[in-house]
Subunit: 248 residues, 2 copies
DNA sequence: TAGATTGTTAATCGATTAACAATC
DNA sequence: TAGATTGTTAATCGATTAACAATC
């Protein structure tokens, strides 16, 4: 998944494990909710419950950031919100572009969670000339021809791809060439990017498939036993098109 | 993340590690693409490249499913498509309901990746009476009042929640009470569910925050050093509202 | 047989967790 | 001081990876 970086262990930039980084947003959200309710302090136990993790893990995670708690008391909510925000880089402004404004792109453009966390939509870009100029989420759609100019003018370093799978790699290449170094990919394709560019992927159907796997296990429990190592009727490569399928 | 199950190790249902299960959909997608190009066989090296993982990991993953390859030759594409589909439970039909048909719900309803993998949208449900009857993706919106009846009538075991955060827990409770045992949650909240119910979460802004973290590291490299353990101006709990924030 | 590629072993690495000493 | 809760240690567990014997 190309975490870039030529010269370093790559996994841990200044020692914070990937798994911890991935949980910081969860903690931040729980803390933000507490902050809105003007709760002044919170214990690791309470916060862990709110974030849906166990408290030992939470304390270990926080220990990578520094000693921001007080023994016998807990954590100052506002202070921790700030420290985590800073660690995640959310105290600065990140201009992003969203490319591909279909249903999903429009949903993303309207998604409140971006703006409230330092992400500013610099432009919405779509390849369909008929859409150019239309407003989505209060922003005018721009044509793909302008992509490079928009990225440069706004110093965009993060791009969101919500195009159909077929267009994603080309869009990705153009974004990267224009200077984007982080990509959030919603298209169901594996993107190839040069070193130094980060790609994260959100795949709607993959999550559903994982659920189906577990659901199947719940229902069945006694499957037709899957016949351990079934003798196949044909060998690989002997017969191209007909699926060598057997109903177990 | 409540993988349910009272009576077993829970992590590995019949020995397939979670990490492997999460990659099966990736392999399946790569294989489907090969299948469409009528490629008869593929080596672990080629398939791994297409799926974006390393080949040792892929072979290890497949070894949990059985011995479906041929040494010296590779894997039969069609046969492997079938085996992985079966393992994931995609050879059966899964009726799902999508609750909350805003931008995101509509995007999900229109998403092709569902239908093509055995997921059938049994109903689109929204709380707004003004929307009831409107068509989205060729399906009429149904009102939330009908939720329980719809779940029962269609034997729905998988529910997708795309409501605002505030409504998510109540929708979740009703789905579970009606018999749903797997939930895909797009609302930015932690849902609590009884044992035996699986929840998976897709959070659009979390992915972006993780990217921002890495982006920050790329740009800065020489941050203002974050002053290791800053002396705080106040102690937790002494002063509720003012953030104990310091510009490092 | 010679070449290719799987399936598996074993070493390594990273993540999780319980437990508890430190300390507010 | 007594009670509470953090931050850290150390044990455990799971995932990744290189290497190679098995075998087509």
């Amino acid at each position: 998944m190309a975490t870039g970086r030529t010269h370093r262990p790559a996994t841990r930039s200044r020692g914070i494990p990937e798994a911890t980084v991935a949980r910081l947003p969860l903690y931040l959200r729980a803390l933000t909710a507490l902050s809105e309710r003007s709760v002044p302090t919170v214990s690791s136990e309470e916060l862990a419950a709110a974030a849906g993790v166990n408290s030992a893990k939470l304390r270990k995670d926080f220990s990578y950031l520094g000693s921001y708690g007080t023994r016998g008391v807990g954590y100052d909510v506002e202070y921790l919100v700030y420290q985590i925000s800073r660690e995640l880089g959310l105290t600065q402004d990140w201009p992003v572009v969203i490319v591909g404004i279909g249903n999903l792109g429009a949903a993303l453009a309207n998604y409140g969670g971006f703006a409230s966390r330092g992400f500013r939509i610099a432009a919405l870009i779509d390849a369909d000339p008929a859409q150019t100029g239309k407003q989505v989420a209060g922003l005018p759609l721009r044509h793909s021809d302008e992509l490079e100019a928009i990225v440069a003018a706004n110093q965009v370093s993060i791009g969101v791809i919500a195009t159909p799978a077929g267009a994603a790699q080309e869009v990705c290449d153009r974004l990267v060439a224009a200077g984007v170094t982080s990509i959030l990919n919603f298209a169901p394709t594996v993107l190839s990017v040069p070193d130094g560019v980060d790609v994260r992927k959100v795949d709607l159907s993959i999550e559903l498939q994982i659920l189906a796997f577990h659901e199947q296990r719940k229902a069945g429990e006694e499957q037709p036993a899957s016949a351990a190592r079934p003798a196949r009727g044909q060998r690989p490569g002997t017969d191209g098109d007909v699926p060598a399928v057997m109903p177990a």
